[in-house]
């Protein structure tokens, strides 16, 4: 897959950008604040319908404008598609594929697939569990676009159930209804996460040994308070039943704390190296290698599933790595992949590609 052209109107620092990236490696060079990450963010937005650095959509709209428009020509093995999304400050987003309006914004997902690596991802092993939950959920959406609906439904159900608990209402039937709704969506979210872990685990071990140039037993762990012992690999329905049972058992606590204290939104994914917990017992070097390997594994998993390579975004990553690891990453990057790399210092980049100079609202 590749972005053949990209056009931005009132997106972050860009009033009007028209850019034709190279189908291979692109190096976006410019000083801090030049607008490099903004370009990558717009491409990431097309692939996941959310910004990789702001929770709120309206942040991406240029300060002077009421709406942003992102347009792009997406090339894949068998076809070329034109996608457009308008993000207004007020009201819903509008999306089109090949000039046809989509009934639901989410139908845009899958047209473009992306794996993004940001500087903060280097710390994904030691950050809080929410970060790793999002990581698994984001990969799930790139693999199976309908996961997006499950995740939105789950978030919505948790918010509704929490609002009910906060309302002071004690109607058991209403609570049971929200329990059941939450459990159903939660079961589907959970099943996707476990499938992501199963798909990525062998690829992760492989990528890790390439970057570290040594073999290691690396794994992805998952602990859920609503499951006793090891997490089994079962159907979404069975996870849903287990969540429903846990919610019922926690009712008193949930009423007291006025929030949902159990479920996939509280689970803790992690990593292991051999017998060690990577979060508490791995060196910073090992943790960073794991983070890099995880993203490469995600890229490979999507490639295998689609027989097509997702676009790879590497934002300021090389400058954060020591020279050895930077070299190792450069050597491990997937082939035949459109890659967008940003850096303020081109001399730090251990890879070559088409060089673009970014600044003053333009890429040229």
């Amino acid at each position: 897959m590749r972005v053949d052209w990209l056009s931005l109107v009132d997106f972050r620092s860009y009033r009007a950008l028209d850019w034709r990236p190279d189908p291979t490696v692109n190096l976006l060079i410019g000083p801090n604040g030049a607008g490099k990450t903004n370009v990558l963010e717009s491409i990431g937005y097309l692939a996941s319908l959310k910004s990789f650095r702001s929770a709120s959509d309206s942040d991406v709209i240029s300060r002077w404008s009421g709406s942003s428009v992102i347009r792009a020509g997406i090339g894949s093995i068998d076809r070329e598609r034109l996608i457009e999304i308008e993000i207004p400050r007020e009201g819903g987003r509008r999306t089109q594929v090949d000039k046809t309006k989509l009934k639901r914004t989410a139908e845009l997902l899958g047209v473009l697939r992306v794996v993004a690596f940001l500087p903060e991802d280097l710390d994904l092993v030691k950050r809080g569990p929410a970060y790793r939950r999002d990581l698994l959920d984001d990969i799930a959406v790139q693999l199976w676009p309908s996961a997006y609906l499950d995740q939105s439904e789950y978030d919505r159900s948790v918010r509704q159930r929490n609002a009910f608990l906060k309302s002071g209402d004690r109607d058991e039937v209403t609570l049971a209804v929200w329990d059941s709704r939450l459990a159903q969506a939660g079961g589907r979210v959970m099943a996707r996460r476990i499938r992501v872990i199963e798909t990525l685990t062998p690829l992760l071990a492989e990528s890790y040994s390439v970057i570290a140039s040594e073999d290691a037993q690396v794994g992805i762990t998952y602990s859920a308070s609503w499951i006793e012992g090891a997490v089994p690999s079962v159907s979404a329905g069975e996870y849903a039943d287990a969540i429903a049972r846990a919610l019922e058992a926690r009712r008193r606590v949930d009423y007291e704390r006025r929030m949902t204290t159990v479920g996939p939104h509280r689970d803790e994914p992690g990593f292991s190296i051999g017998e060690r917990d990577a979060r508490t017992q791995a060196s910073q070097g090992e943790q960073r290698t794991l983070a890099l390997a995880m993203k490469l594994a995600a890229h490979q998993a999507i490639t295998q599933a689609l027989s097509e390579t997702p676009v790879l975004l590497l934002d300021d990553v090389f400058s954060e790595l020591d020279p050895n690891r930077a070299e190792a990453l450069a050597g491990a990057l997937p082939e035949n992949t459109q890659t967008l790399v940003t850096s303020a210092r081109p001399e730090d980049l251990p890879i070559s590609g088409k060089v673009w100079s970014v600044g003053e609202g333009d890429v040229g």
Partner: protein, 197 residues
């Protein structure tokens, strides 16, 4: 700010859903520009609607008298009631020409975020109807949203124990849709939510 009466209309219009201050301004000046009888006809239509239209005492559909036209229709099957969120949803079901039963408008869906619990919806009115009418089946046609689904579950839990048949409209693939053209998203969901035949 414009001359008093103009600004007043702009303010009123901009309180309507989906109308921003710019559109309100455009509409107000349009109404100022058209022939006076045309403008007054619009005002009269709003007046008449609010004067003459009420909610049906039985099903809470819009009505021009005590009962709506559907409740007045003797040929309709009283044993089946289709439960919807809003009066507009009745129009959608009616358009299919497939349904000959009655309706019950809840007035929304369960949504604690918006302060809507069972007490804010017309469940008591539905219970009262069950006492007096020979209703045997409820067809739940709430929206396919998290809130609509929760409302459907609530109805099943509350009304099934009373010996009623409670069914839910199937969702997933669009009716008449071709599998080839179903987007990946809908198809994924339809597969996940498949049911036994």
């Amino acid at each position: 700010m414009f001359e008093g009466p103009v600004q007043r209309l702009i303010d009123e219009l901009s309180r309507l859903p989906g109308i921003g201050s710019k559109s309100a301004q455009r509409l107000a000046f349009h109404i100022l520009a058209i022939e006076k009888p045309d403008a007054l006809r619009l005002a009269a239509a709003i007046n008449d609607m609010r004067d003459q239209v009420t909610l049906c005492e039985r099903c809470f559909n819009v009505a021009a008298g005590e009962l709506c036209s559907i409740c007045r229709d003797q040929r309709r099957d009283d044993s089946v009631v289709c439960v919807v969120e809003r009066p507009q949803d009745i129009v959608v079901v009616e358009r299919t020409q497939e349904y000959r039963g009655g309706y019950h408008v809840l007035g929304g869906s369960l949504s604690p975020i918006n302060g809507v619990g069972p007490g804010q919806l017309r469940f008591d009115e539905l219970r009262a109807r069950l006492q007096t009418e020979g209703i045997e089946e409820l067809i739940v046609a709430t929206n396919p949203t998290v809130e609509g689904d929760a409302t459907a579950m609530y109805i099943a839990r509350e009304f099934k124990p009373l010996g009623l048949r409670v069914t839910r409209l199937a969702s997933g693939l669009p009716v008449g849709g071709d599998l080839d053209y179903a987007d990946e998203l809908t198809l994924g969901r339809a597969l996940a939510g498949r049911s036994e035949l």
